[in-house]
């Protein structure tokens, strides 16, 4: 599913809203999360997951072709930790078939 498909679904479910408003709603959600991470804040959506930015230290990299050492600056990397409820839903809602059943095969 892409962002435009998400918007189309929301539009179908909410006929009382105008398409541009739905586009703005979706854009606002992701813009708010992005802006929060850019400020160094985190976003926690219980049951869904939490967005944060992890700091990576500066390090010395290497040019793989020449072998020359190259300084690599530190940077922030976006990170998403799925919430418990979403994690379980993605994994089929409950622990999977017992191992023994598979080992016996």
């Amino acid at each position: 599913m892409t962002k435009s498909e998400l918007i189309a679904q929301l539009a179908a479910e909410n006929p009382h809203l105008r398409q541009p408003d739905i586009e703005l709603i979706v854009a606002t959600i992701f813009e708010e999360i992005t802006a929060a991470l850019a400020r160094g804040d985190r976003v926690e959506l219980r049951g869904f997951g939490a967005f944060s930015a992890k700091q990576r230290d500066p390090r010395t990299g290497r040019n793989p072709r020449t072998g020359a050492a190259v300084p690599v600056a530190g940077k922030a990397v976006p990170y998403f930790k799925p919430g418990k409820e979403l994690r379980e839903r993605v994994n089929g809602g409950e622990p999977q078939a017992p191992l023994r059943a598979r080992a016996a095969e």
Partner: protein, 103 residues
Amino acid sequence: MNTLTRANLAEAIYTQVGLSRNESAALLETVLERIAATLEAGEAVKISAFGTFLVRQKGQRVGRNPKTGVEVPILPRKVLSFRPSQVLKARINGQPLPRGGQE
């Protein structure tokens, strides 16, 4: 470091779009639920200029209880991963957006 929650996102929708606070909160929930349901069905969710949520199938492997050292099988499972887009990475580092657009 502050932590934003649903309330902050709903408030942003309220100010940006001009819906009622209640409806703003309900729509935020609907968006999250649509994404969750799609992932639950095993389908990836791709949000341009933000990132991709995808479901990965992990095979079985042998783990170990770190306290007792006892080997424990880790069952095959599905896990969710998030790949941030180049745009998101650049924004977070205060860099100019990558050329060529969305991804």
